[in-house]
Symmetry: C2
Subunit: 188 residues, 2 copies
């Protein structure tokens, strides 16, 4: 950020009075510009004993695999965002069954909310942001071609839960920067 989005004058970085973090502040109109983490809503679409993954057609990580996921928009719920991304990227219609993971990426200011959804029909296809979309048995997941660490970490938890026979909610952070408290016993 170089200029104030309210008045167009240059901004500078300082800690506002009563705050304890550096913000972009406009000396002309006094507006403080806050930047907050973004929500990425995703879905692991299930069809019988397989899940639907997309091969990315766009950067970053074009050519690698992910479940449908993307930035949540203002005006929708987290659930709607996950359903929309699944429709856009995998041309599949899902009924969400549970929220499976809440994964923070503190170093890049993102929080992934990953739902599990049952595909309503077997119909799916590559949306404009996907090169290919395919059903994978959990044993076939291309672990070495997964686009992002957070996607791999979410899939790993999903597959572990499948093996245990019970889906549970996972709240965790994906390493990359800070030391952080964790709710998960298995990652202490």
């Amino acid at each position: 950020m170089n200029f104030c989005s309210a008045c167009g004058n240059p901004v500078s970085q300082k800690i506002p009075e009563g705050d304890n973090m550096v913000r972009f502040v406009c000396a002309t109109c006094t507006v403080i510009h806050y930047h907050n983490p973004k929500i990425v809503a995703g879905c692991i679409p299930e069809w019988n004993d397989r899940i639907l993954l997309c091969r990315r057609a766009i950067e970053p990580k074009s050519g690698l695999w992910t479940f449908p996921a993307g930035f949540m928009e203002i005006g929708e719920s987290t659930e709607q965002a996950a359903i929309r991304e699944t429709a856009e990227e995998a041309q599949a219609e899902v009924a969400l069954t549970s929220l499976h993971s809440v994964l923070s990426l503190p170093h890049i200011g993102q929080v992934y909310l990953v739902f599990i959804g049952k595909m309503r029909t077997e119909r799916f296809g590559a949306g404009t942001e996907s090169l290919d979309v395919r059903l994978f048995h959990p044993s076939e997941i291309p672990w070495d071609q997964i686009a992002f660490t957070v996607v791999r970490e979410a899939l790993r938890r999903y597959v572990d839960d499948l093996a245990k026979g019970e889906m549970t909610l996972h709240v965790a952070s994906i390493p990359g920067s800070l030391a952080k408290p964790r709710l998960e016993d298995d990652r202490s």
Copy 2:
């Protein structure tokens, strides 16, 4: 938003090519400015059979009650944000035990992530954003003096779960705008 935060020239609202939503776009430097929902991280702090609520010292809704909650910052996890807000607003130290609700507010572009936390000690006090902080038995919650609908809805689910003897995760939207799919059976 009136001006481009990258180059300082005026922005206009249009649907970028390949998109389907109106964005703020800079004709001069071609940057598209996305606005995304913000995460509010909150905590219901428990001390034995009581919970800690704060009376707000700031607008909006100064003088009304809430659990500690505030905007998540870049560089922290959702859990860290909930713990930090509890320390700032209620001067209490909590160990989070579970994520209790994920409540979308589509009409204002916010998502509340409400955790439950055990207070590590009985120590608490009013932070700079609170007029008063008090422990309430669930039967004493001042329902008609709760600051926000989303806070009341989260507390209602918490109290219902207490009565049932089991805490469960609630994913829902708080009415205000759009029709939306819900994961909760009890709010169809």
